[in-house]
């Protein structure tokens, strides 16, 4: 237990110090981002390089900071719901689920079974969409351009289902506090089933392109290694933690929504390198398909909204609720002062915490590995900066 304190290799770049001797090669300081094709948005990474080798990095974030937590204090509980979609905009449904469940817990109500099943279906579809986007962009970062188009083609089908369900494709705002505000449309189950049949061979297709591709394996094996201990010490969660061999998924560890009803596995890796993370995410996509397949057949009948007051005034108190978002543990810490507006909403963003591990993972690696690791951490800057 005690040796965890040894991991304190977190950014002290000391950019100002430049003591050079006559024979030293120049340590190159390069800004990667904010306007860079491979930093997934407006992440700025200051790289200290010796040739191609990375001596250290420092992340500069906040270019997309919108003060979501401040806004929450000035909106009612209901009004704040759409804002959470804008954080991790590729997994908006997960964000909404976390927030709605947190407020429901605070109000001490529970969403009806039917609503919970619909929530599970949509959240897992969203996990698929998020992982597909990750796969495409990650492969693009490593230089394989083709998977991007394949994954975007298939992600489109998920977005079509979202669009039909709630009218929006990306920032869905699919759930309401207390349940779902929309009943499923006619043929929802049939279309989801059709999508499952459509997408299963497609995932094999992605794997065919990459899993045994020699260059892909060479580029990802032993790149950005992180051990389970380091993951836990750095608070890294989600597929990154699981790829390091920790079988921990909030859907199993602290189940929420209707997840206890379903039978699924938690894929784990062993080495904690980029390749294992890739494999784990691919397996997760298959597990998601499994969950959706189980859920879609037995969505119970009944109401979709619980009885909740029109004006929500949760009792004084505070709650921390977290869910397994595609990126990791997404937590909401809500403090209520008994009024209609939350006194404080804190979002525990998985991307933000995971990004912290970047420096540790890329020290001593090459520039190309930095790109690969940023991709494999699967960050969304909207969530990092909030």
């Amino acid at each position: 237990m005690t040796d965890r304190t040894t991991i304190d290799r977190t950014s002290h770049l000391e950019l100002e110090h430049h003591e050079k001797t006559f024979l030293d090669s120049n340590e190159l300081i390069i800004n990667m981002g904010p306007q860079h094709p491979a930093t997934h948005g407006v992440l700025r990474v200051i790289l200290k390089l010796d040739g191609e080798k990375v001596l250290g990095t420092e992340c500069v974030i906040g270019y997309l900071h919108r003060g979501v937590e401040k806004i929450a204090e000035h909106r009612t509980y209901t009004m704040f719901n759409p804002y959470v979609d804008r954080m991790d905009y590729v997994a908006a449904v997960s964000n909404g689920l976390g927030y709605c469940e947190a407020v429901e817990k605070l109000l001490n109500v529970e969403a009806p079974r039917r609503a919970q099943y619909i929530r599970v279906v949509l959240t897992e579809l969203n996990r698929l969409a998020s992982h597909m986007l990750w796969l495409g962009t990650h492969a693009l970062d490593i230089g394989a351009i083709t998977p991007l188009f394949y994954t975007f083609r298939d992600r489109e089908e998920i977005l079509k289902i979202f669009e039909k369900y709630c009218g929006a494709r990306l920032t869905t705002h699919a759930f309401r506090i207390g349940g779902c505000s929309y009943e499923t449309y006619d043929g929802f189950e049939r279309e989801v089933k059709k999508f499952l049949d459509f997408v299963t061979p497609k995932i094999d297709e992605y794997e065919e392109l990459l899993t045994t591709n020699r260059i892909w394996v060479e580029r990802t094996k032993d790149v950005g290694k992180i051990s389970a201990k380091e993951c836990i010490a750095l608070g890294v969660t989600g597929p990154v933690l699981r790829a390091s061999g920790v079988k921990w998924d909030l859907r199993k560890a602290q189940p929420y929504a209707a997840y206890p009803d379903f039978d699924f596995e938690i894929p784990v890796g062993q080495n904690g390198d980029t390749y294992d993370r890739y494999i784990v995410r691919m397996q997760e996509m298959r597990q998601s398909l499994r969950i959706i397949d189980q859920a879609i057949g037995k969505i119970p009948d009944g109401p979709i909204m619980a009885k909740i007051p029109k004006v929500m005034k949760p009792p004084v108190g505070e709650i921390y609720h977290s869910i397994e978002a595609p990126k990791g543990e997404l937590g909401y810490f809500i403090v209520s002062d008994g009024s209609t507006q939350p006194y404080r909403v804190r979002v525990r963003p998985p991307s933000f915490v995971n990004l912290q591990a970047l420096d540790m993972m890329v020290r001593g690696a090459l520039v190309a590995d930095v790109i690969a690791v940023i991709g494999t951490l699967d960050i969304v800057l909207g969530e990092v900066d909030r």
Binding site: M1, T2, R4, T5, I7, D8, T10, S11, H12, I61, G62, H65, G67, E69, K70, I71, E73, H74, K105, L106, N108, I232, A233, L234, G235, V236, V246, W248, A253, Q254, G317, E318, I319, Y320, S322, E329, G331, F333, V335, Y343, R344, R346, R348, F352, V353, L355, Q356, D385, R386
Partner: protein
């Protein structure tokens, strides 16, 4: 566990309770570094989920800092809370959980709470020269550092 903690630290634990099934401990601010260390080493709370703060301007000690911890072996969470006045600085948890680094920087950025012993305490989300700490209750929602915006962006208002 709570009783064990109480036995060890006695009056330092102001309140230990559960609300909506979630455990929390309100501790005396002087007890914090010790308590966090004990929670990690003896009670196996090896994962620091989040560090955040809440601002209560009416209280004597304005800031309530919250540590949310999780234990992998026990599969349970606990929240540790302690109050600090504006002038006080909080002991940093970075030596205990490296993940606290950015989380504490964010708390510093948003609330202006200083963390003692943090390796690199500077703003993280807002630009370095920014004035004010936005998540304090006395910081208005549309308020911003006009001067900074003018100098760095060359526009009158960022809104």
């Amino acid at each position: 566990m709570i009783s064990r903690l109480k036995g060890q630290h006695g009056s330092g634990i102001r309140e230990a309770n559960t609300y909506l099934g979630q455990k929390y401990v309100v501790a005396d601010s002087s007890l914090i570094p010790e308590l966090l260390q004990v929670l990690r080493d003896q009670e196996h709370f090896d994962y620091c989920v989040d560090i955040t703060a809440v601002h209560y301007p009416d209280r004597e000690k304005q800031f309530e800092v919250v540590w949310i911890l999780y234990s992998f072996p026990r599969n349970e969470r606990i929240r540790v809370k302690a109050s600090y006045a504006e002038v006080e600085s909080v002991p940093s948890a970075v030596p205990i959980w490296p993940t606290a680094n950015w989380l504490e920087r964010e708390v510093f950025d948003m609330f202006g709470i200083r963390f003692e012993g943090h390796p690199d305490l500077k703003r993280i989300l807002l630009p370095d020269g920014w004035k004010g700490h936005p998540l304090r209750k006395d910081y208005g929602i549309i308020q911003q550092d006009q001067e900074w915006v003018q100098i760095n962006l060359g526009i009158e208002s960022g809104q």
